[in-house]
Amino acid sequence: MPPCNNLPSRAGLGLKPEHYGEILSDRPDIGFFEVHAENYMGEGGPPHRYLSAIAERYPLSLHGVGLSIGGSRDLDQAHLARLKRLIERYRPVSFSEHLAWSTHDSGYLNDLLPLPYTDETLNRVCAHVGEVQETLGTRMLLENPSTYLLFEESTIDEIDFLQAISERTGCGLLLDVNNVMVSAINHRLDAYDYIRRFPVERVGEIHLAGYDETADEAGERLAIDAHASTVHDDVFALYEFTLGRTGPIPTLVEWDNDVPDFPTLQAEAERVDDALARLPAAGRRVA
C-alpha cells in the first residue's frame, strides 16, 4: 500500500471558498491545502473548478469528517464510494479521518461524537480502518479526538487505543495538538504528558486550531474545540514541545468558523513555518 503521507513538512491551511480567487491570483507560498472531503461531494460546479486549479499548484490533503469510523454500525458504502471517487479524481497526498462517530438511525448528526475505549470498540474501529484502507487503496491517518465527557465503561487509555489501531491496521496518526489541549483541560490531564507518551513515530500530520472556553456545572474549565480563532499561546507552546519530539511534521492550521481574511490565515501559517524552521537540523527525524 502506498505511504499515507507525502505532505511537505511545512504549514498548511484549510481551503475556504472565500479565498479561492485570492489564492489563484496571488499564489501565496503555503506548504499545502487541506479540504473537508464532504464539501466536494457534489457532481460538478465551481467547487470542483477551483479545487482542480488549486490542486494543480499545491499539494492537497483530503480530510474526511463524516465516515463515522468510530461507530458501531457498518461503514456507509455509498460514502466510501464517494471518497474513492474524490481520491481518484484529485490524487491527494494524504487522506485522514477521525476517531469518532456521527451516523445513527435518525441520520447524520454532523458532529464528531465520542466512543468508549473497550476491546469491543477497538476491534470495531480496526475493522473499519482496515476496510477504508482496502477500499481506498491507501493508508490513512486517524486523528485523536477532543472530548467533553468520559465513559465509565472505558478500559483502555486513549493513547494505547490509538497506538493499537495503528499497529494492527498500519494506519498513521494525525496528532491534533489543540485536541490534546482541549481534552487535557476537560479531563484534568497533563497535556505535556500526553505528548510525551504519544507514539510520535506514527504521526504523519499535526493539526492546530483555536479553542473556546466556558465552564461546566461544577464551575470547572470546559474547553471547546471551536476552530474559530487564532491558535492560543498554550497550544502553540505545546506544539513546539511536540516538534521537539517528532521533528518536522506537516502542520495544518484549522480555522473553519468565523473564517477571517486570507492574510490573517497566512500569518498563522508563517508562525508555524517559523517554528518548523527553528528546529535544529540534527534533531530532524529521518522520514
Binding site: G42, S72, D105, Y108, N110, L113, L115, L150, A218, L222
Partner: protein, 259 residues
C-alpha cells in the same frame, strides 16, 4: 453489542433535551455533567441550522435571523441529513416551511425556498457544455418536430403562483425593491458555466418549455402549448431556452448529439 446500545442512548439524548443524560457518562470529578453533554447537542443543532442559513439566504433575509433560526431549529429537530454530504441538506425544507404555521402569512415563502434549493442543486450539478443556437441550426428543418432536448444537468424549472423569481432577484440587491408578489411566475434555473442563473420565463412559454424539459419532442411540446396565449412563438421560446444555456444536447430519433 454494548457499543451499539451506548450509541443509541447517546443519540436519543442528543435529540431530546428533556431526556436524562445517557447512563455511563462521567467526568474527571466522577459524575456526568449536563453542560458537558450540551456541547455535543449544541454542536449538532447549531451546525445544521448554520447549514440551512447558508443554503437559504433569501428566505433568511425575508424573515430575519431570529425567525429563520427558530424555524430552522424546528426543521433540524425533525429532519437530520440523510448523509454527511451537507451540500444536499434541506431537500424537504420548502415542504416544511409550507406546513409551518408561523410562516403562513408569507404565502410565497415555501416556493422561494424551493427556488433556493434548486439554485443549490444547480450550483453542484455535473458540468456540461450547453449547445448554442448554431448547433440547433445544423438540424434540418423537417427533422425539428422530432427533436428532443437533453437538459443541462443543472437545469431546473419551477412554477409558482407567486412572483418567486422577482422576489429572489430583489433580494440579491442591497436595497430590496417592492415586488408585486401575487403575480404567478415560472423560473428557469441553470448553470451553463460557472455561474448559476435564475430567469423568469414569459408565462406563455412555460407549458412548452416544461414539456420540452420533461422529454417531449419539439412537435409534441408545441402541440401541448398550442392553446397558450397569443404571444406564444415556439421558435422564439426554443431559442430563448438554448440561449440561457439550459440545453446540453439534442436527440434526433435515438441519436444523441452533444456539442
Amino acid at each position: 453489542m454494548q457499543h451499539a446500545q451506548g450509541e443509541a442512548r447517546f443519540a436519543a439524548a442528543l435529540a431530546d433535551p428533556e431526556l436524562p443524560l445517557p447512563e455511563g457518562l462521567t467526568s474527571a470529578r466522577g459524575e456526568a455533567d449536563r453542560l458537558r453533554f450540551a456541547v455535543y447537542r449544541n454542536n449538532v443543532h447549531v451546525s445544521l441550522v448554520e447549514a440551512l442559513v447558508r443554503a437559504f439566504p433569501v428566505v433568511h433575509r425575508i424573515v430575519g435571523d431570529a425567525f429563520f433560526r427558530a424555524m430552522a431549529r424546528a426543521y433540524v429537530a425533525e429532519h437530520k441529513p440523510e448523509s454527511a454530504v451537507l451540500i444536499r441538506y434541506g431537500s424537504s425544507f420548502a415542504d416544511f416551511v409550507a406546513g409551518f404555521p408561523p410562516a403562513h402569512a408569507l404565502a410565497y415563502l415555501a416556493d422561494v425556498a424551493r427556488l433556493e434549493y434548486a439554485w443549490s442543486e444547480a450550483y453542484h450539478a455535473a458540468d456540461a457544455d450547453p449547445i448554442s443556437l448554431q448547433d440547433l441550426a445544423t438540424v434540418a428543418a423537417d427533422l425539428l418536430p422530432d427533436v428532443r432536448l437533453i437538459a443541462h444537468p443543472a437545469t431546473r424549472l419551477l412554477s409558482s403562483g407567486h412572483a418567486i423569481g422577482s422576489i429572489w432577484s430583489a433580494h440579491q440587491q442591497e436595497q430590496v425593491a417592492r415586488v408585486q408578489t401575487s403575480q404567478p411566475e415560472t423560473v428557469l434555473v441553470t448553470r451553463p458555466q460557472a455561474e448559476v442563473k435564475a430567469s423568469v420565463l414569459p408565462e406563455d412559454d412555460a407549458p412548452f418549455i416544461a414539456a420540452l424539459l420533461a422529454g417531449d419532442t419539439i412537435g409534441e411540446a408545441a402541440g401541448k402549448a398550442g392553446t397558450g396565449g397569443h404571444g406564444f412563438d415556439p421558435g422564439a421560446a426554443l431559442a430563448g431556452l438554448i440561449s440561457l444555456g439550459a440545453v446540453s444536447g439534442l436527440q434526433i430519433n435515438t441519436q444523441e448529439t452533444f456539442r
